[in-house]
Homo-oligomer: 329 residues x 2
C-alpha cells in the first residue's frame, strides 16, 4: 500500500511542477482550442483556451508509475501497461496535433483512427490472453464466479478497450469533468487491487496494478489544479485517450471488465446518451436529449458546469462503492 | 466494510430525498443568509441564499449511522458519538436561529458559546478517558508508539475538540469547501478504522467508527449536490459544527488526535491563518493575508471559488495519504 501512496503523491507533485513549465510552452506554441462549433452557446467564451494538457498528465503518470513499479515488473507487466496507455495517448496526440497545429478541423481520418485503435487493442487483448496471471476469464460481479471466455476473450477485450477509450473522449467536455470521475475510478481500482492482493496472496500483478492506478489518480488530481472551472487548460484528445486507456488497462489486468459499467459509470452514460441521441434522430427524427453527450443536456437545462461536475463525481463515487460491494469487499 | 459502504450510500440517498423536502421548507421559513459584512465584496451576490442546510446533513447522518450501527453498540458507543456530534450541532443551530430568524446579528453571546462548548467537550473527554477501549493514550504518527497522557488527557481532548469544531466553522466560507474537505477526511478515517480492525482483531469500536465515518462522508457528499458552486443553500453554523464535531469524535475514538494536523489540514490552515492575521494586526498593525481565513486570501488574489475548492480538496487528499503512510498502512 505504501508504495502506491507514494506513487500518488509523486504523480501529483510532478503535475504541480510541470504546470509552470509546460503551460507557458504550450502557450508559446499557440496550442489554443478551437471550440467545436456544435457545443453549447455558453462555451463560446472558451474559444482560445489552451489544450493538450494531457501531455502533462502523460509525463507525470509515466514517471511515477515507472519509478515505483515493483522492480521485477518494471520491464514486464508494468512496461506493457504503460506502453499500451501511451499508445492510445499517441493516437490522441496525433489527432490533436492535426486539429490544433495544422488547423485541419477534423483531425485524423475515421479509417486511420479505427485502424490504429484496432491494432493497439488487438495487441493488448493478446497480451492479456497469453499472460498466465490474467488469462481469458473475467470476474463476474455480485455472484463471485469467474467466467472463462476462451478465445472469445480477444474480440471481447478489443470491444471493451475501444468502447472505454472513446467514451472517455466523449466525457471530456466540461471543465474538470473527465479528470474528476477518472480520479474516483482509478482510486476504486487501487482499493480493489489492494483487496485482491490480500485475498490471493498474489503479488506481482496486483502490486503493479496498484502503482499504475495510483500514478493515474495522482495525475488526474493534479490536473484539476489547472483544469477546474474556469479551466486554464484543457486535456485535449491526448488527455482523454490517456485516461480512457489507463482505466481500461487497469480493468483488464484486474480482470474487471464487467465492473466497468459501475466503476466508470459516467463514461458509459456519456456514450449511451450519444448513441441514443443519434439513433433517435436517425430513426424517429426527434431528439431525446437537449444535446448529447449527457453533460451538455444538463448544462442546457440550466445547471452550472461546476454543479454538473459535482453531480457526476458524486454518482461515480456511489457506483464505485456499489462496485466494491459487488465484489464482496 | 460492507455495512459502512451501505451506510455511505444510504446517507447519500437520504440527502437526495431530503433536499426537495427541506429546502422549500427553509425557504418558507425565510432562513436566508445575511452575508457577513466583513466578507469579500464578490460575496455580496450571495445575500439571501438559504442557510442552515446542516439540518439536512444532521438528519441523514443520524438516520444512517444509527441504522447500520453494530447492534451491540447502538445504545453504547455509537449513541455517545452521535449525541456528542448532535450536541455541537445544537449549539450551531441555536446560534444560527438567533442570527437568521431573530435577526440579531451576533448570535449567541461569547460566554454562552464558550460555556456550552466547554461543557460538551468535558463530557466527551471524560467518556473517552473512562472507556476502556479508548483510554488516555494517543497513537503517535510516523514512530508507531502510543503516548499515555494520563489525567492530562482530559484538558488535551477538550482543547482538541474546541479547536477542531471552531476551525471547521472557519473553513466554511466558500461554496462546497467545508463539505468537500470533510468528505475526504471522513473517508480517510474510515480507511484507517478498517485497517485498525484488521490489525487488532478489535471489533466493537472500529466497526462503530467505520459506520460513523461513512454516514458523515455520505452526508457531506450528498450536500455538495445543493452546495456546489453556485450554492442553492449554505450549511450554516449548524452544519459546520456538525462536521467539526463528527471529525473530532472520529479522531478521539480512533485515538488519532495527533493525526488531525494532517487529516484535517485545511481546518488547521484556516484557523492558523486567522490567528496569525489577528496577532499580526494587534502586534505589528499590519496584515499578513489579504483577508483571513485563508480561502478569502486566495479569492481576493483572483482565484475563483471553484478553483479554491479544487485546491483545498487536492491538498487534503495528499495530506490524508501522508496520514495513512504515517500510520504504516
Amino acid at each position: 500500500m505504501r508504495s502506491s501512496l507514494f506513487t500518488l503523491i509523486l504523480s501529483f507533485l510532478c503535475m504541480m511542477a510541470l504546470g509552470p513549465v509546460i503551460i507557458p510552452l504550450l502557450q508559446k506554441l499557440k496550442f489554443g482550442q478551437t471550440e467545436a462549433s456544435y457545443g453549447p452557446q455558453s462555451h463560446a467564451a472558451k474559444q482560445g483556451t489552451l489544450t493538450m494538457g494531457g501531455i502533462m498528465m502523460a509525463v507525470a503518470f509515466t514517471v511515477s508509475a515507472f519509478a515505483f513499479a515493483p522492480a521485477n515488473t518494471r520491464f514486464g507487466a508494468m512496461l506493457h501497461l504503460i506502453l499500451f496507455t501511451l499508445g492510445f495517448t499517441a493516437i490522441g496526440f496525433i489527432d490533436d496535433y492535426i486539429k490544433v497545429c495544422l488547423k485541419r478541423n477534423l483531425g485524423l481520418r475515421a479509417w486511420q483512427k479505427i485502424a490504429l485503435q484496432l491494432g493497439l487493442s488487438f495487441g493488448m487483448a493478446l497480451y492479456c490472453y497469453l499472460n498466465e496471471q490474467i488469462g481469458s476469464s473475467l470476474i463476474v460481479p455480485f455472484v463471485n464466479i469467474e467466467w472463462d471466455l476462451g478465445l472469445f476473450y480477444i474480440p471481447f477485450a478489443m470491444f471493451v478497450i475501444i468502447a472505454v477509450v472513446n467514451s472517455a473522449n466523449l466525457t471530456d467536455g466540461v471543465d474538470g469533468l473527465c479528470a474528476s470521475v477518472t480520479t474516483v475510478t482509478m482510486a476504486t481500482f487501487l482499493l480493489i487491487a489492494l483487496f485482491m492482493k490480500d485475498a490471493a496472496g498474489d503479488h506481482g500483478l496486483s502490486d503493479s496494478a496498484m502503482v499504475f492506478c495510483a500514478a493515474m489518480a495522482g495525475a488526474c488530481l493534479g490536473f484539476l489544479r489547472y483544469n477546474a472551472n474556469p479551466a486554464r487548460i484543457f486535456m485535449g484528445d491526448v488527455g482523454s485517450f490517456l485516461l480512457g486507456g489507463a482505466v481500461v488497462a487497469a480493468a483488464l489486468v484486474l480482470r474487471l471488465s464487467l465492473l466497468l459499467p459501475m466503476a466508470a459509470v459516467m463514461y458509459v452514460a456519456s456514450s449511451l446518451s450519444d448513441i441514443i441521441q443519434i439513433g433517435s434522430i436517425k430513426l424517429r427524427h426527434k431528439k431525446v436529449f437537449r444535446m448529447a453527450p449527457l453533460h451538455h443536456h444538463f448544462e442546457l437545462g440550466g445547471m452550472s458546469e461546476t454543479r454538473v461536475v459535482a453531480m457526476y463525481t458524486a454518482v461515480t463515487v456511489l457506483c464505485c462503492l456499489l462496485a466494491l460491494i459487488s465484489l464482496g469487499v
